[in-house]
Symmetry: D2
Subunit: 433 residues, 4 copies
């Protein structure tokens, strides 16, 4: 994994005010009494514990229940919004937030904004009142019961909505663009001196949020994507010189593609945004596939949607969330392969919507519950402008400014990527130096 640089101060978490109320959770500060313990703000996790000077470098605050909190649960108005593309586990997070707010902290008014940030705009649809009864079974289905959308709403406008509905805390489930909006909103709230907590739960099926080891839905997506690669393998071996080509998600980072390849063991080439490649030429993709067909009679190729963008001539456009619209590398590769290898029957599979809409796997279901629980703890303690991350398998508080606009990427120097190219048998580089 490769993350951007960060200074120690950037990992300090902001608050809406001093946490002076006792927690209603009744946990313990004593080890070994068979009662769960509170987490303290001073227990911090170094960014790189193997570094010699780990203790003085950047360190994360650990997530968890605090002994002193800011908000009094029964008086709290909480709200939830889900933004961006679908991702397995969104409903699990919604359910977890509602259950934890209601049962652990006694919150009795929880609004669910409809259809992403548009639900906080002036022309919003009325939000839903969320209760345990309403959400208790929603985790069995994929997607988000609240609906989602792309695109920002001005921070001032969202802030007005929060004020109007007297919201004390907003839980924002979304990806990089969404967190940019959450950061702007937190800044606006702070500018106006309002005691409203903004807490993010990172949702990116691409698993590309900086300083977050793993995001929810990613494991489910890898499992689903692996099944698509198996289908491509079946198609490829079912024809003489058959090629199976699978396009997977991954705008800036090829984690889903690479991990699915490791899970399925059936792919012979994987192309990710982190590693530039040539199409033509002696080190290019076409030559490699030609050789593979000659040697083995079939080939399976996996390509992340953000790979090879520089090969495609296109006018650059952006979508409503400000994400750059990508040219379609899947279709481009499909056509290039068909032209270069006309006798090789190619089957093109684009399973993205099937993957996104799946319900969370058991593993992701557990993870979503834990993230939701920690998000509620953070908000109740008055922490704001942060998201709940995972670092070295511990859940953490990560300030939004450290994250926004930056991406985690596969390190081509790391053992993960080496394992991937060993598995496919592809060369380390598919380009002329």
């Amino acid at each position: 994994m490769s993350h951007p640089e960060v200074v120690p101060e950037a990992l300090i978490v902001d608050t809406v005010g001093p946490a002076e109320l006792p927690s209603p959770l009744g946990l313990s500060a004593v080890k070994g009494d068979e009662i769960a313990d509170y987490t303290t703000d001073d227990r911090r996790l170094p960014l790189d514990p193997t570094a010699p000077n780990a203790a003085s470098g950047p360190r994360f605050e650990l997530a968890g229940a605090r002994e002193r909190i800011y908000f009094a649960g029964p008086k709290v108005n909480a709200a939830i919004v889900t933004c961006g593309g679908l991702c397995p586990g969104m409903n699990n997070v919604i359910r977890g937030l509602v259950m934890q707010l209601w049962h652990a902290y006694g919150v009795r008014r929880i609004l669910g904004f409809r259809y992403g940030y548009a639900g906080l705009s002036e022309r919003r649809e009325p939000p839903w009142e969320l209760t345990p009864e309403l959400v208790k079974d929603c985790h069995h289905q994929g997607g988000t019961i609240l609906g989602s959308s792309r695109g920002p709403v001005a921070a001032e406008e969202m802030c007005r909505t929060l004020l109007e509905l007297r919201i004390d805390m907003l839980f924002v489930i979304g990806g990089d663009g969404t967190m940019r909006g959450a950061h702007a909103l937190a800044q606006e709230v702070s500018r106006q001196g309002l005691p409203i907590a903004i807490v993010g739960i990172p949702k990116t099926i691409d698993n590309d949020i900086a300083f977050v080891e793993r995001t929810f839905g990613y494991a489910t997506a890898v499992a689903q994507a692996s099944a698509a690669i198996t289908a491509a393998h079946v198609e490829a071996t079912g024809a003489k010189n058959g090629i199976g080509l699978v396009k997977l998600m991954g705008r800036h980072s090829g984690y889903v593609a690479a991990s699915a390849v490791l899970a399925s063991r059936d792919a012979n080439l994987v192309l990710v945004p982190e590693s530039r490649f040539d199409l033509d030429g002696p080190a290019g993709v076409l030559r490699f596939i030609e050789q593979r067909l000659a040697a083995r009679g079939h080939a399976v190729i996996v390509v992340a949607e953000g790979a090879g963008q520089e090969l495609i001539e296109s006018e650059s456009t952006t979508d409503r969330s400000g994400n750059q619209r990508l040219a379609d590398i899947g279709v481009f590769l499909r056509d290039a392969l068909r032209q270069a290898l006309p006798d090789a029957p190619l089957k093109y599979i684009d399973p993205s919507y099937l993957i996104r809409a799946a319900p969370a796997s058991a593993d992701d279901a557990i993870f979503c519950g834990q993230l939701a629980e920690d998000a509620v703890h953070a908000a109740m303690a008055g922490k704001t402008g942060l998201l709940i991350g995972l670092w070295m398998n511990r859940r953490t508080h990560v300030p939004l400014p450290a994250v926004v606009g930056r991406h985690k990427r596969i390190s081509l120097d790391g053992s993960f990527w080496r394992n991937v190219v060993e598995t496919t048998g592809q060369p380390q580089l598919l380009r002329s130096r």
Copy 2:
């Protein structure tokens, strides 16, 4: 179900010669002795048993082991070929044929031609020697271990190959185009007076073979397709005025689309080749979807690939098997919907290759085994130029000429289709009268 007309004589099965050898199976002709009984040629199943004159109308020969057979197993050279697109269960059929030939009839030489009819051409790849050891686990994977291809080979050329390799019986697994080839080959074999049995096992994921109630792989395909509709539903409800559009297989017949709709219960419109529809106009598809969105805020549409072909201007072309290349109704509808309803986010899902490549469901696995068993019984008894069908849940012998070039289609007058339109809530007709 709607089938073409047929005269009683058309259901008489051809043979390569008199069945005079005793079967090695050691079955019984006595009822109630706890030993399986032979099937006799004179036990015949009326095409329509509810018709008043059923007994004098067309009747099918029942499939099953015969007491007298034509071929002596240990001397037999058998061969198998798989043609056309992939379909769940092909490997189950291959495995079943090999197991039955080997263990029940003592056949010890079984060739597997590679890559469809091309494997019987002059420039063929060498066929595989199939044994129980080699095929015993192949049913756990989708596709066909023998490989497949589209396109015919001249009957004379295939006949030469059979002679050269001294093949006594050829099992042909394929769809309508393939059965056309099998019929031509059977005619050529007969013209030359050769005692070679040609037996088909119908493989069409579209379930559109005439006089065959259900083909293998179809149930698996419906289950997979139903999951894709669920994903479309999740996507549609995840956005304001969201539309999920799923394209499914079904060139001439919309069985997969219609059955998947019945299984999932989540679709609001299904379009099949059997029922013409308007795109525009007061009774057309666009108006219906517009109203649906206004009423419910989302819509799920399922379209079979052969539907609405007359709406699309395109030059008609044919593929190697002589099947007409279809214009892409999925992409056409997607674009038309996006243009007509620009504020309705549309997600387009084309899961066909994922569906085709799935391994057989439990139900199809059983069915494939039974079809293979009966195909071997038929060939050993010297029957030729037929395929193994299913009629009123009994396996039957269907002469190839009754089937070739004709299709089974959904009857728009039947309760199956009524059940479908009741489930979606769509009008009976989506066109101006």
Copy 3:
């Protein structure tokens, strides 16, 4: 399949009165007009269409919508009850009944009795009011939302409940014991001259209802059971001389066990109630397994719960539904094998509750919908004292007296069983003659 004998008169369906109202469905009596057609009472399906005198033998009435009906939908009070053990698809049937009653016939009062026949007793829990909104998603989960129970309630008492709640039609979802109760209730209703329709939808995971080719949930159960056999195979091959023993449902009939064996292809012995076997002796089970272990180093055994009862000394008892309590053949065999083959590690798997609780497969989901639809058509037409069957892949009306107390069993003379023993490699008989 082996069914009891029946005379032609036994297949005549009873009615509560003359069907004189026009159906609100607006179907057609004209073929080819692309409008679904009504079914007529005189279109009948012979029990054995291959018999020479099929037309004069017993024949089933076909299920489907009638042009003339007895009840006026908007005035109807309908009710549903689910009885006996769980079975995949019960919720699909409940959902299908409610949707069809509500949307097709305009029924607006539909009660769901709680916990089986107990819900019709004097000390009943209050029934639920069922609506499309309430049932629309219930088919995604296994079991029955209404709850179930075993055991009869006196027909008079149930009849009083129906009168008290002014029920016009009762849909009874259950197995043989339940249908006995439904028959008694229908007789009581008739004795009192009440116009109340009693319509059964047969629910038996064992697939053992007489004159019914396949019951809902059976296909799902076979798929689940097949997976359990695979697990047993993995365990057996994972140890030297490993034995995997799977007990499956099947009190009187071994269909689930036999079909699961056909689907998985991994079992080496299947024991069913239809075929008596010895434990000891030269032809017995222990000897066969000993030989199998010596030859192959592992063995997989599948036993239906009703098999081998005569081998177990036990006092006979009956459960609340009057079903005889079976001695546990699984545990008996497990202990006998461990004693006889102490060096063969045996893993015993009893997956019954996991199988029963599964949601319906795609195939069963479709089937449940069709059964529910036809049950509503039958009740609305005033037919009573019948269940909806399946015969030669057509849905039928079967009078309860023809069914009650009788079982469908695997024919040991048929090709189905022959296919099973060929698949396992076991001898036709596992006993000394």
Copy 4:
């Protein structure tokens, strides 16, 4: 998670000799060159990076490829053995070891001992020769292709076998008992001064190996177990006062039970070995369930096999591996509940063998491949007497003495357990203080 104490010296890894050969992998020591980097022995991970004195406390060596190695691949004789109960992913590890040895280091002789340590005894079955061709598809099936067994073989005897077959490195896949044997063998090898590397890959479906955060197969087991809880929930809600009782694996640690509860969200009580409980009395299990039934009409209970042992009178016995045989808490609880609550229909589900025999999930498949890769790196570098662990999501080298005979257990003071009891709604303690 709660682990035993350890001193810094206990985490120093042993070697068979100096690593002086250059690695054939051709990796890099330069960051940022898009070539994977070697791992160095001095990069160490603190046991608790959040502790103030982390750098001076116990620290793990990181797993990974070394620049200098001890063995020359083409001369190496490697061997693999799988021991103990089945666990998802064993075949993935076998496959990964063979692929990595063969393709990365050029090892050409790889033996697979049959049926656990018995395969290294004097009366052993001949081992298999493993090749990439032989193992390439084995990961699609559960279990272990090599077979397994319980029980030790004397270290001297195993050492003689290694010498006789001239084995240079042995990979041992197994749990705590197995690692005890591996440790004894490593000590014997060392006593004789032999350059044979013994490297463990921890396999425990219970996830209870000390100093190992997660073991392979555990995630798959949790997913399967979660499905069994769903079935229990369906059964419980399907009857009035219905109880679903699921027994899961977990001899010393309740991780599978607790995590499955978090994944499914359907259980109302989970009992684990870490938390003693009363059966009777005001704080006991029976009272809790009685109250739950009165309030909600059904209850789902999950019990780990090692829970509540002190409640059951039984003579203590041990199995062949020296593990104490547990009394059957599942059956004990079932009977106690039936006696105490005779009107509450109880369904008892014991899915252990179905869970164990499952193939690895996508996530576990990836993890198994990585563990196998690192095990080969460690052995080639001459490291011995260790296993490959996972700590804070980094793979590590853990010396066997630090692990053997000690268990990781759920910390009742931690947030994981708090999350579990919040999910079920059970009290923190189910006993009188």
